[in-house]
């Protein structure tokens, strides 16, 4: 999860009193973010957009750094963070981010049409599941960062 070399970031260390909870949240990170089927850049973009939606400063900083390290252009990063239309993001990624934002903000508002849009872009059900879980997990990370009150690394 980024941070200084060889030092886990504050989100990790804030859970160090409860290795059981840390291991469980880390497992999701491993399976969804390090593993998984979608390209790493779109996963970070989804996290970035959700962190901005939740106004979570800690997570916004972490994901901005991650996207920069991946070589994503700064106008694309800014678009994920502050443009509801995601104008600088290519259409397939834009559709995934929008689906993720809806999932994170109001899961009941996700429609069959939303599923169809992602399928039309060639996403399999397993990949759509990954988008959904990334969004649910993004909320969980943002919530933890806000409640624990950690400051940017």
């Amino acid at each position: 999860m980024g941070g200084e070399p060889d030092v886990p970031n504050n989100l990790i260390t804030s859970l160090s009193e409860r290795p059981d909870l840390l291991a469980a949240t880390w497992e999701l990170f491993k399976r969804l973010v390090i593993g998984g089927m979608l390209p790493p850049t779109v996963k970070e973009m989804i996290f970035m957009a959700i962190a901005a939606q939740n106004d979570c400063r800690y997570c916004s900083v972490v994901h901005t750094k991650a996207l920069e390290a991946m070589g994503v252009p700064s106008d694309v990063i800014r678009s994920c963070a502050s443009d509801p239309e995601l104008a600088q993001v290519p259409p397939p990624q834009r559709a995934m981010i929008k689906f993720g934002l809806k999932t994170a903000r109001d899961p009941k508002s996700v429609t069959d049409e939303g599923f169809r849009t992602l399928r039309d872009y060639g996403l399999s059900d397993g990949e759509i599941m990954e988008v959904t879980m990334l969004a649910a997990y993004g909320n969980l990370l943002d919530t933890w960062a806000d409640v624990s009150g950690i400051s940017p690394d």
């Binding site: 909870l21 949240t25 999701l28 106004d55």
Partner: protein, 179 residues
């Protein structure tokens, strides 16, 4: 609503899924086949491995009594209007012998007046975490510490609030029917 994620119920050809399902059912989350919340993730055993590990660590293991944890989920699910999760965890509370007036109070009484004060404070903290994490104050932490909760237990309450939202999100987006 169209079927969004196929619920995988047959595992003969998939040893990884087979052993995951066996572990899930051993803890009572299904009879013959796991609850729909899990089988709807059967198409991605890698993801289910992680969500199940989280459910086990946060909900089934940990330090707080199981009743308060299921109460948190019923309360948060009610506020999120997640009928699936409210139903599953109401059934769990009934099976644990929690009195009906307390269970009903979770869904109908905003003041939680039927719930004893320590549990009420825990529920109120978890609800704040789930609904508006930025609104949680140092005073909210102190209140739980004064009731005797350790820092580790308070962490578990916070994680339960976040986890309840996580459960609701999957149930709502996948559109699973009540088991």
């Amino acid at each position: 609503m169209a079927t969004r994620f196929e619920r995988i119920t047959r595992t003969e050809s998939n040893p990884e899924l087979e052993s995951l399902y066996a572990d899930i059912m051993e803890t009572g989350f299904g009879d013959g086949v796991p609850l729909n919340w899990f089988t709807s993730q059967g198409g991605r055993p890698d993801i289910l491995t992680a969500t199940w590990k989280l459910a086990k660590a946060v909900l089934l293991q940990g330090q707080l009594p199981p009743t308060i944890k299921h109460m948190i989920i019923v309360k948060v699910a009610t506020l999120n209007q997640c009928r699936y999760c409210a139903t599953v965890h109401t059934k769990a509370l009934e099976a644990m012998g929690v009195p009906t007036e307390i269970i009903d109070g979770l869904t109908t009484d905003l003041n939680l007046s039927e719930v004893p004060p320590p549990q009420r404070a825990i529920l109120e903290f978890a609800v704040k975490v789930a609904q508006q994490p930025k609104s949680v104050t140092d005073g909210d932490f102190e209140r739980l510490h004064e009731l005797g909760l350790s820092e580790r237990e308070t962490m578990e309450v916070a994680m339960m609030g976040a986890f309840a939202n996580f459960l609701n999100t999957w149930a709502d987006v996948s559109g699973i029917p009540i088991d």
